[in-house]
Amino acid sequence: MTTTPSQPGPDVPRGPAAGLTDPSAYEAPMPTERTVKQRTNLPIQAYRFAAVSLKMTRMILRSHG
């Protein structure tokens, strides 16, 4: 939800600021509880660390010519 600008007077309670998007309005999906837990699961993350390291190494080698 993107709101329209508000210019309240001094005594009028103001609405949301122009362009302010509330988290509930983002179109992106919310990660499941399982996904969030996996992001800090030590064995899974140890595996991901190795995988990310490999990806980065491959890209770095390619960039270094």
């Binding site: 210019q7 992106a28 899974i44 993350q45 660390f49 491959r58 890209m59 390619r62």
Partner: protein, 485 residues
């Protein structure tokens, strides 16, 4: 005997200096001119800014490293370039003013055979009235700024613990800023710290940015494969904002800041104010105040430098519409088109155009990110220029043969989303190339194999590893040159 003068000792300049020293015999001189006595691993300033690290953990003194490697370090600020020399010398030289406390204010002219401008950005807080540490907001651009930000954040947390609601605005303080990735990192590190302190529910966190969409990061966003689909960094980033309850204001230009209130406009022509208790807003960058003079003393600053103050190099600066942008517009040797012994690297070179699509509000205000050129690309440029200069000095070639175009290199970007060995997280991203090349990679402009992204604790470990590894490398310790840029 040749003398190479490197102006600046950030990632690009320091990398160039160390490689030059490695590649050149001791008969040749390598001089580094930098106004700062300390080297700073800037990516970790984020952790200083939330109090997780001390400034001493992200810095070290430059002089002992340069003494060890035989680099002549002069703590001074470059103020003028004389690429043609003058009536008394045909050699180019640079005027400097010492910032070293022992010689403060003393001026000197340093002749060179080759000069590398790696002076980085001028933090242009003045572009937005009231912005910055001398105004009403904090910054994490330097370790000193970040330390002050941490102190103010601690005050906010104390108020939250006392039951007072607080509004925190984090983002960019001008429509033409770059480094949105740093603002993103600080946003989620602050959010993480508030959760750790048990006060998240009383805090409203607003990310304010000049990006057209979340996940743009000044590189026009990314596409990568995930679970059998090609997804976007927009969706990926929005999902994190949703999960962590962070509000956003996109497509915004901050007009001015007063105590506890900022004034902004957005791309659709709206204007509004936003009250805050804490604001970390990054400044726009421009080139350092470095002038250039011809042999006869006439001012040639506009010839050597772009209006933004960045050094013109071997880029195609012809103004053209977005759909005519090409990878070949981007420089690859970073040599000045006017002077073959003058180079500009890192943030100090003038990019030919942005990477994100440029946009203007109805009143003409530019609201779109400038292109980032920090970190790995900066290091690669510094190394390529060092190799080219060494080759030309030793007679291996007469022209630069080593290339480091941002349209032909990738970048690894690890954006912290919270510190902690077991509870931290970061977005680990790779992109190849940094500047999209739609001829080589039709459709998305980048390789879908080499462009990746994921969030998790592994990213935090990776960022910490990079912190340790690059400080080790920058100290020039055993095997430093084996660590890639």
């Amino acid at each position: 005997m040749a003398r190479v003068v490197v102006l600046g000792a950030g990632i690009s300049g320091h990398t160039a200096a160390l490689h030059l020293r490695r590649l050149l015999d001791k008969q040749h001189e390598v001089v580094v001119v930098s106004p700062n006595s300390q080297w700073n691993w800037i990516p970790s300033n984020i952790w200083v800014g939330v109090g997780r690290m001390k400034p001493s953990q992200v810095t070290f003194p430059l002089k002992p490293v340069y003494d060890k490697h035989g680099v002549d370090f002069r703590q001074a600020k470059a103020v003028a370039l004389h690429p043609e020399g003058d009536e008394r010398t045909s050699k180019g030289y640079v005027d400097v003013v010492y910032t070293d406390p022992a010689r403060a204010g003393e001026t000197q002219s340093i002749e060179y055979d080759y000069v590398v401008n790696a002076t980085g950005p001028k933090l242009n807080f003045a572009a937005t009235p009231g912005l910055g540490p001398d105004g009403h907001t904090v910054s994490v651009c330097t370790y000193g700024h970040a330390d002050e930000a941490a102190k103010q954040l601690a005050g906010v947390i104390a108020k939250l613990k006392a039951g007072q609601r607080q509004t925190l605005v984090i983002g960019v303080g001008h429509g033409t800023c770059t480094c949105e990735g740093a603002a993103f990192e600080y946003t989620f590190n602050v959010e993480h710290e508030l959760r750790e302190a048990g006060v998240r529910d009383l805090a409203e966190i607003i990310y304010l940015t000049n990006e057209y969409e979340l996940g743009d990061f000044g590189v026009g966003g990314l596409n990568f494969k995930q679970n059998g689909f090609v997804t976007t960094s927009k969706l990926w980033t929005e999902s994190l904002f949703k999960e962590r309850g962070v509000k956003s204001i996109l497509r915004a230009h901050v007009q001015k800041v007063e105590e506890g209130r900022l004034f902004y406009e957005t791309l659709d022509g709206s204007a509004d104010t936003l009250d805050f208790d804490f604001a970390m807003l990054l400044p726009p960058f421009r080139g350092q105040d470095l002038q250039a003079f011809a042999k006869d003393g006439s001012d040639i600053t506009a010839t050597v430098f772009a209006p933004s103050g960045f050094l013109k190099v071997d880029a195609d600066y012809t103004a053209k519409p977005v759909d005519e942008w090409k990878a070949g517009d981007w420089p690859s040797t970073y040599v000045s088109p006017s002077y073959p012994n003058v180079f500009g690297v890192g943030i100090a070179f003038a990019p030919p155009h942005p990477i994100s699509t440029p946009r203007k509000a109805p009143n003409g205000t530019v609201i779109s990110p400038a292109p980032p050129r920090t970190g790995m690309p900066s290091g690669l440029m510094g190394r390529a220029v060092a190799m080219n200069i060494a080759d030309m000095i030793t007679g291996k070639s007469n022209t630069p043969q080593h290339h480091a175009s941002m349209a032909e290199m990738g970048a690894a970007c690890v954006a912290s989303a919270g510190a902690g060995f077991t509870k931290g997280s970061a977005a680990s991203m790779t992109m190849y190339p940094v500047v999209p090349d739609y001829d080589r990679f039709p459709g998305y402009g980048r390789s879908l194999t080499e462009t990746t992204g994921e969030i998790g604790l592994a990213g935090h470990w990776m960022k910490h590893l990079l912190h340790v590894m690059f400080i080790y490398k920058a100290k020039g310790k055993l095997g430093w040159s084996m660590i890639p840029e």
